[in-house]
């Protein structure tokens, strides 16, 4: 029964084992591959550029309502209809009309000025009604439509989803599985063998990076072919940014998992760590929506830096030199989190 076949290097075996566990976990597969694609499809369709905007405008029933509808309908992009007086609020709230016109001299416009589409409807309707009342335009400007690739919401969204994905797969793929091994006393069992602890940790990172290739590849290729989302910069830069992002979240994840003993415990910590970044780091809407006072914090978050860098590479074609600020921040997170995690990591 002597060993004829030389066995593989422990780092290779440990990496293989970890990679197999990751890809054989149906949940991991769903969250890493299916979920981002579903999000891209759903949001990409929901927020696609509205087809040369039909603007719905409602007219409150009354003496001159029919005349006003006819005048408004003459404006090509306006769709006008009448509603009852009691429906004004609901119609606006539900977006069935972007503007409600009450007949009169002058007419009354009811709309929500915080909604851009309402303000647009007011401009269009006002122009049409004034022209019908006798105002004449000074000129007719020549329109030249320009397509701006990379400027749609889906183009902006995909790097955000990519960053979010790199964060959550890193957190779950490393932190959660380490804690599972600890709570099932497998970590202790491994430590009882001659396994080197450094080999275990190297394998964690190696398996994570192998998974990253699939994870980033699938989403980028899907977004490219189904939505034409560009990668303006080099693939090398995209890879470098992704790897550094995965390392930063690998370190943070190892840190959250370094002492936790139960799956429930570590899930709680990881949600607390991730939730602010899901909201604030610009996955779905720009970080500039938050007040200036909290901007320094938001800009220091690793997910903000990762997503900014991904958008830089994919949408602006930035080189790594341009992104040195973001990359430096990610590198700092990586170094600090690994340094602390390795110091306090519990092997039993």
């Amino acid at each position: 029964m002597a060993d004829a076949r030389r066995s593989r290097h422990p780092v290779v075996e440990l990496t293989l084992a970890r990679f197999r566990i990751l890809i054989r976990e149906p949940e991991a597969f769903f969250w890493a591959f299916v979920f981002p694609i579903l999000m891209t499809v759903a949001l990409g369709i929901a927020f696609r550029a509205a087809p040369a905007g039909i603007v719905p405008v409602a007219v409150v029933q009354g003496a001159h309502a029919a005349h006003l509808v006819a005048v408004l309908e003459r404006e090509p992009s306006v769709d006008a209809f009448t509603i009852g007086r009691a429906e004004v609020y609901i119609t606006l709230r539900d977006g069935r009309a972007h503007l409600v016109v009450e007949p009169g001299t002058p007419p009354v416009y009811r709309y929500d000025p915080t909604r851009p589409e309402n303000r647009l409807a007011r401009l269009l309707a006002d122009g049409a009604l004034q022209r019908a009342a006798g105002r004449s335009d000074l000129w007719a400007a020549r329109d030249e439509p320009v397509a701006t690739p990379g400027g749609r919401y889906v183009d902006w969204l995909v790097p955000g989803l990519l960053g979010m994905n790199i964060m959550s797969t890193g957190m779950w793929g490393i932190g959660f599985s380490v804690v599972m091994q600890r709570s099932r006393k497998l970590l202790k069992r491994l430590v009882a063998t001659p396994m080197r602890r450094s080999h275990y940790l190297i394998a964690l990172v190696a398996a994570r990076l192998a998974f990253l290739v699939l994870e980033v590849g699938v989403l980028v290729v899907f977004a490219r072919f189904f939505f034409g989302v560009p990668v303006e910069g080099s693939l090398g830069a995209l890879a470098a940014v992704s790897v550094l992002g995965a390392m930063a979240f690998g370190g943070i994840s190892l840190l959250t998992a370094s002492r936790a003993r139960t799956a429930e415990g570590v899930s709680g910590i990881m949600n607390v760590v991730q939730a602010p970044m899901w909201i604030c780091s610009g996955v779905f809407f720009a970080t500039s929506n938050f007040p200036d006072a909290v901007q320094p914090i938001i800009q220091a978050l690793p997910l903000t830096a990762l997503i900014d860098a991904l958008r830089g590479v994919m949408l602006n074609g930035d080189t790594l030199a341009v992104l040195r600020g973001e990359l430096g921040l990610l590198g700092g997170w990586t170094a600090a989190s690994f340094a602390v995690a390795l110091r306090i990591f519990s092997w039993r």
Partner: protein, 311 residues
């Protein structure tokens, strides 16, 4: 010949709890040594100190003549360790798990050979999640055998298994011993200790309360048989009943048990007739009566007044 495993004056505390309270063991190469004791006796704590997984608060440990403080790496290469509670990754196959553990050792067995030894050739490519309890346990033991160890530590290798699965584990241990391996195992099954061990140490409250070959320990009882009986509850019980029983010829001791009485007897052919006579004279009736050969369990009971399973 030097010892395979030796410890002296071992102490391990958890806060106020003294898990191991001054324990000495000396296990010879090639020996199979059993630690027998009830729940919480300190078996796991002892074996984990010997395995280098826990630091003792006091005492000396030597394994294969080496010490954990200075020779940890060399020692781990030569030991096979099975922990009581470890669960392996569910989504790896049996072969993948064994390959992984094999890779940690500089020298060892071919995984195919170990699969054959475990009787798991047919399950080589099955995920751990799809194994039965007995198959999982055999694989776990296999993980401690792939490194071709000199000493095998088994912490409760058969707890929770059915009799057939337990016998399969015993066979694996036997074959390991057949090649000259040393085994230290813990169990709270007395039959397991009797079948596998050359010597056992009976442990209670962190101390060795008896140590020796199973048969010798049983013979120290001076009584090879146990008679258990119950009285018809309607009849009531005579006063000074225990003294009356112990005075019977051939009976060494009498104990009240849940649901009846238990006598240890040196010879059945004198104890049984005198017990029957006592019953007839007293006019009480027996509702049950069984006899069996004395075991390590009875040794434990006579030393502590408790059963192994009482915890």
């Amino acid at each position: 010949m030097p010892s395979a495993v030796r410890c002296s004056g071992l102490v391990k505390r958890y806060g106020d709890v003294v898990a191991v309270a001054g324990l000495d063991l000396d296990i010879a190469p090639g020996e199979c040594f059993g630690l027998l004791g009830p729940n919480g006796a300190g078996k796991t704590t002892t074996i984990e100190v010997l395995e280098g997984l826990l630091e003792p608060d006091a005492g000396e440990v030597q394994v294969l003549g080496l010490r954990w403080a200075t020779d940890g790496d060399a020692l781990r290469q030569r030991l096979g360790i099975h922990l009581q509670e470890s669960q392996f990754d569910e989504r790896l196959s049996v072969r993948e798990t064994l390959d992984l553990f094999r890779s940690f050792y500089a020298a060892g067995h071919a995984v195919d050979g170990v699969l054959a030894l475990l009787g798991l050739e047919g399950k080589a490519n099955t995920w751990v999640s799809r194994l039965s309890g007995g198959q999982r346990q055999r694989m776990a033991i296999g993980c401690s055998l792939v490194g071709k160890p000199d000493v095998l530590f088994l912490d409760e290798p058969t707890t929770g298994l059915d009799p057939q699965a337990r016998r399969q584990v015993w066979e694996i241990v036997d074959r390991f011993r057949g090649r000259g391996g040393t085994v230290l195992l813990t169990t709270h099954y007395m039959d397991e200790a009797e079948v596998l061990s050359d010597r056992v140490a009976v442990i209670d409250n962190g101390r060795v309360i008896a140590c020796g070959p199973p048969r010798e320990l049983v013979s120290t009882l001076g009584a090879g048989h146990v008679i258990a009986f119950a009285l018809d509850p309607a009849a009531g019980e005579p006063p000074d009943f225990a003294e009356g029983l112990e005075a019977l010829p051939g009976v060494r001791s009498a104990r009240r048990e849940a649901g009846g009485w238990s006598l240890t007897a040196s010879s059945l052919h004198t104890a049984m007739p005198s017990l029957m006579r006592l019953a007839a004279d007293g006019g009480w009736s027996l509702s049950s009566l069984t006899t069996r050969t004395a075991t390590l369990e009875d040794v434990f009971v006579s030393l502590t007044g408790r059963h192994l399973r009482d915890g």
